[in-house]
Symmetry: none
Subunit: 123 residues, 4 copies
């Protein structure tokens, strides 16, 4: 389900948090249901439980999940589903475009290419 990219510059816990966030946004992890336990997820991904703990802490700070002592972590009711995801998308897009700017690709070329990709993929 969750694939880790060790080449990625972002820390593992952040990758995991982001992936879980997507699952929550897509209602694959439903509101008020229990998240997989820290230990179990750590086993599944064969990584250190500390790392999962940090991912959950991050999700909690962002309001995606809430802990119940002695029971586990649960998915928060959500507020702003679409906007969250869009925001994330545009944040990523911006990072991506920055690279294009760095190597000197003109705006016009990016726009043309974007249009072409969209048409190919949505046809």
């Amino acid at each position: 389900m969750i694939v880790l990219d060790y080449q990625d510059r972002r820390p593992i816990y952040e990758q995991i948090a982001e992936k879980l966030q997507v699952l929550i946004n897509k209602d694959i992890l439903e509101v008020n249901t229990q998240m997989p336990s820290v230990r179990k997820l750590a086993m599944d991904l064969s990584i250190n439980p500390n790392t999962i703990q940090r991912a959950y802490a991050l999700l909690e700070s962002k309001g995606y999940i809430y802990p119940i002592k002695g029971r586990g972590n649960f998915v928060s009711p959500k507020k702003d589903f679409i906007n969250e995801e869009k925001e994330q998308f545009f944040k990523n897009l911006k990072a991506q475009l920055q690279q294009g700017i760095d190597i000197g690709i003109p705006l016009s070329e990016v726009l043309a290419r974007t249009e072409r990709i969209y048409k190919e993929e949505t046809s």
Copy 2:
């Protein structure tokens, strides 16, 4: 000219390399002219010369500059390596856009946002 962001996740030497790369791509640093010396740039940015050295090493490995011993570093004539980078960029962009398509962001919005990002970042 070059502003460092110590909050940025990327290391300083990478930030510097990227900024210089942009200046080269914009022909502000012209082909075959001399780059600022390692020591001078270090003084100007008030950081350690080793850090500049690393930035220059990175630029050299990417083919943007070439050193002449005892003289300094110079801007490389532009070559195909730019095209390779472009190809990679558009491949990544496509993957990125695919996500936008998946969550239903309309082309018009992406185009508008792209334009805005470009203008912010190149100003």
Copy 3:
């Protein structure tokens, strides 16, 4: 295992990188196994860890190893980049041999010498 030659014109970090590269190519360091840690190798060779770090950075940029944060460096699965290097090698070899042809060195002598060099260097 690794012997450094301080008389060699090449920097130490490059010598180390080259030696490790050979070990990887010979599968003595196997794919996806862990490289010796930066600090340990530094101790073993009694040189500064930074120098090892640089050697590893070089190997990473060439695609021979990949780092996992907090865990160590690992041997990359072999890919096409080897072929690119090979192609370059044979191009250079051809230019080299052309000189031998020009001054009239017979094929047999070149073959014999090549064999001898190989045996010396790989023993």
Copy 4:
């Protein structure tokens, strides 16, 4: 006549010395004739006269030229023309082959390729 490669790892003075050595070996610079003056050659190559001076010093130490005070440098009578050149060739070949060894090209492949190149080029 002499082309410098600033990308080359070898110092400029060594490149110049080597090129001049070849010219001497090929009798383009004839025995007992005068070498170009330090200043003139420096002008021609638009480099620092010190660098030429070092190249000449190197050639003198190898016995290729001899200086006459107040007059200039002259080509030495030679001894061992063919062997010098062959030795140089095999030295270069060895450096070249070392690279092949580094990236793991088997001896057999090098031998086969060498043979092929020779046949192509001498036919």
